[in-house]
Each structure stands twice: as structure tokens, then as C-alpha cells.
Symmetry: C2
Subunit: 145 residues, 2 copies
């Protein structure tokens, strides 16, 4: 993973470049996302922020995440169990998601670039983003069966 401090500075720099202000509350959200290894949900981020700033509202968390989405400093992983976020790697990358415990990990896969080019060539679309998620059962949940 990228060093969370480096990611945090990148996020701050990007937000400031867009003239968004950094506040203690939004900074707390940034810190959590910059260090996220576990793709937290909005609710989870909210709980962690409240541990530091108990008066923080859920709306503020949503607003901050939306700013980050706008400047492409966070990646939203859309899953039916509730969306999750990755602020450490804010660019498209594959996920492997456990259908039982909802654990998400990031494998390094080769060949996505080629696949994207193939899709662009065959459809004529100018492709800017992608989403590649695998679903299944993680080793821990397999062991429990």
C-alpha cells in the first residue's frame, strides 16, 4: 500500500487545489481513508470519526466522501451489502469480495489493460474507468464450512 501519510498529503493538496477547506472533521475522514486497508463503509468511517469528534454528523462524512469522489481521491466499491471505500488506492483496480463475511482484498492481476483496450476497440467507447470485482468465499469462510 501507499504510505498513509503520503496519501493524506495528496488528498489535502488535491482538495486545496479545488479550493475546498480542510477542517478537523474532514481531516479525520481523510486520515481514515488514507490508511484504509479494509475498504470501510460510510457507517464505519462515521464511527471512527465520532471516536475523535463525537459531535460529527453522518451528513458531514457523506459530504466529505463526495468531495473526494469528485476530485477522484477515493474509489467507491459498489456492493449490494452497502458501498465501501478505498482512499489508499483511488484508481480502478480489481477486488475480490467474500459473499459471507464481506471481506475485500485487492489482488494484483495482469491483463486488465489489454482487456480495456479490447473493449474500447470493439465498442468504439472512449473508456475512462472500469470496475472489476470478483465474488466468492474467502479462505476463512471456506474453512468454517
Amino acid at each position: 500500500m501507499t504510505d498513509p501519510r503520503v496519501r493524506l498529503n495528496q488528498m489535502i493538496a488535491k482538495l486545496q487545489a479545488y479550493n475546498f477547506r480542510i477542517t478537523p472533521q474532514s481531516l479525520a475522514v481523510l486520515k481514515i481513508l488514507a490508511a484504509s486497508l479494509d475498504h470501510p463503509s460510510v457507517e464505519r468511517i462515521y464511527e471512527q470519526v465520532k471516536a475523535v469528534f463525537p459531535t460529527t454528523s453522518l451528513a458531514t462524512v457523506y459530504k466529505t466522501i463526495n468531495l473526494l469522489k469528485e476530485v477522484k481521491e477515493v474509489l467507491e466499491v459498489r456492493v449490494s451489502a452497502g458501498n465501501r471505500f478505498d482512499g489508499n488506492r483511488p484508481f480502478p483496480h480489481p477486488h475480490v469480495i467474500c459473499l459471507k463475511c464481506k471481506k475485500i482484498i485487492d489482488p494484483d492481476l495482469s491483463g486488465i489493460q489489454e482487456l480495456t483496450e479490447e473493449a474500447a476497440q470493439k465498442t468504439g467507447y472512449r473508456i475512462t474507468e472500469h470496475c472489476l470485482d470478483f465474488f466468492g468465499i474467502c479462505p476463512d469462510c471456506q474453512a468454517e464450512e
Copy 2:
């Protein structure tokens, strides 16, 4: 695409195998999904069903789609602009989605099987499904720019 009549019969057979009943309303939903080339939204399906059965409720459309999801006879495409459905090809396959007009098309891509195996091998997950969606601008919307 698969012949809509063939798909319709497959859907009916699968639902009956699970002891679900076929009604005029649910049949109307099945017919639309079996012939879907354009990945309709729930709202769109609802409108088309109402054209035939004006008293149909949105809840019935949702319930029927959920049955089909349960027996894996429809594929849900999760997009932020509102989820869309494919009843003609109810198995995982790639989509190319236009960010402007929301048009969705299905390219034939090679290499997804290999990528799935690579992901399974590197993570230890037993992978059963995947979701591969590309986002960009379609040729029509590019021409308008």
C-alpha cells in the same frame, strides 16, 4: 443474443422448478427481460408492464425481479444512475456503459476466464461470480462533443 422465446421458456421452467407460480403480471416481466437488449431499469420495466396491465404495481415488478435474481435468471448491473437488468444473458459478462447517455452494451472479450483463475489462485477465494464493467463515452456522445 439468445432467442427471447427460448429465454422465456428457460425462465418459466426455472421458476416452476422452484414452485413459483406464473401469473399474467410476472409473465409480462419475464417477457420484457427475456427480450431485453437494452438493460432496462426497474422503472422502465414497470412502465412497459403497465402498458399491458395498467393495475400492476411497482412492488410486483420488484418481487418478480427478486425471484429471478434468486434463481439466477437475471443479471443485475449495479450503476450509480440506477440499477439495470439483463434477462437475456443472466450470467456474468462484461458491460461497457456510457457515462453520459447510460447506454450499456455487451462486448465479447477474451481473457476473463484466465483473469478469474489468476484472482482465485492469488487470493485463495473460491470465486463464483464476477462483475466487469467499463465506463466511458459512447461513439454517439463523442460525436456530440
